[in-house]
Symmetry: C2
Subunit: 227 residues, 2 copies
DNA sequence: GGAACACTTCGGTTTCTGCCGAAGCATTCA
DNA sequence: TGAATGCTTCGGCAGAAACCGAAGTGTTCC
């Protein structure tokens, strides 16, 4: 008998295997059509349609109509954060029986989260920026210092548009550390892909770095203690 | 059709209104008996017992047997984090219809989260410590600098025990900012209560500061820009 | 216009699970 | 030892919802 927002409604929505599959498929930030999501969840189109309608109604997803397709994506960064937190929980629960497989190694190293970079490489970038004073704690979140602006301009990351909530922190479920999200995190991911330092693995959230790409990334985001 | 940890299982568990009520009741970090939790959820004892058994089995809760009572508490900080993330989601969903009531003002100002302090006051303490260089980004999380150790000793916060993951960051669902968790966050909360700067409001997570207590807190954790 | 396609809505079946009454353990107190 | 208390287990019921077949809406292509 308590007031306040009702967790159980959202949680129950995520609590259906079909819907959970769809949400996880969208966690990399891309927009997928209803048909693709139905295939992902392993249900028929009409079942998926019902699920999607409910998730849009609840504010978990947003829709973009394009011709005879309807593309769905996660509505807000909060949704991605909640999913990440639940992933960490489920992971912790499963960790008792099985050891993390070799397939997960690539996921731990680098993957896309919502629309930014996550994993070891993302945490490295975050720590490097913090250490070098390129991002600083501001009144409402993190802010990019002047030197930081210069550094990102040098890397070819465009940071136009509203610069108010330029960068945010996001908890990393494999590293249990913070990494960058927000426009800055998004710009970082697109930069890495544009430069060919890494490419998305089809059908998964893995972001696979090339050997030279990883070296370039490490050089761009040095940490004290590096060789 | 995907591998990886199964979110839906945990989410479905949290997705039942009764279980969600119990979990939220435990979010302040205290241990409650099965009977108290049954009352909280508004169900009979035998129903609650089933719910609790399932949540323990899933690793959401842990039990401590004491005489003929069984006390339940959240198993890990990850559970509290996931609940906070879901709270943020549910809050965002509800924000469309109703405006946040006056009762919520106290919650926003200060409340207990798991076993540490959250809300505006907690964010202030975190920012102050960051600004003054008393906590620094370390290899695996945050670390307390030597000056930080001295400062906390001066405040009477005991920091014995394993000092490895001394402080962690935790996302604040009302402020959307980081605040302290971990031993340091716990110590902060107990210090505030011990000194009589604030007291827990019975039956809620609100931590109510006294007028002098708030002034003392603000003095102990100054921010540039203060009067 | 008609066919193909992407998706939604409707209706009915089936499965799941939350719920409580009753009975069963375990612990404490007299 | 017996009664009271706190909690768990069992069994059956009732409501919810996930699912798919079939039919309907809107868009594109020929």
């Amino acid at each position: 008998m308590r007031n306040g927002p009702d967790i159980s409604e959202v949680a129950a929505l995520i609590g259906d295997p079909g819907r959970a599959h769809m949400l996880l498929a969208l966690l990399d930030g891309r927009a997928l059509s209803a048909g693709e999501l139905a295939g992902e969840a392993g249900v028929t189109l009409q079942t998926a349609s019902g699920h999607l309608a409910r998730m849009v109604e609840a504010g978990l997803l947003c829709v973009e109509k394009q011709g005879r397709h309807r593309y769905f994506r996660l509505a807000t960064a909060e949704v991605a954060e909640a999913l990440s937190a639940l992933l960490a929980l489920a992971d912790q629960g499963a960790r008792r029986r099985v050891r993390t497989g070799p397939r997960d190694a690539a996921m731990r190293k680098a993957r896309s989260c919502y629309n930014h970079l996550a994993g070891e490489m993302a945490v490295r970038a975050y720590d490097s920026l913090r250490q070098r004073g390129l991002i600083v704690v501001a009144q409402d979140g993190l802010d990019l210092s002047d030197a930081g602006h210069a550094a990102f301009a040098g890397l070819g990351v465009a940071l136009t548009g509203s610069r108010k909530p330029l960068c945010r922190e996001c908890l990393d479920w494999s590293e249990r550390r913070m990494h960058l999200s927000g426009p800055l995190g998004t710009g970082l991911l697109t930069m890495v892909l544009d430069r060919g330092w890494a490419r998305r693995e089809t059908g998964s959230r893995v972001v696979a770095f090339t050997q030279t790409g990883e070296a370039a990334f490490r050089k761009a985001f040095p940490l004290t203690g590096d060789v």
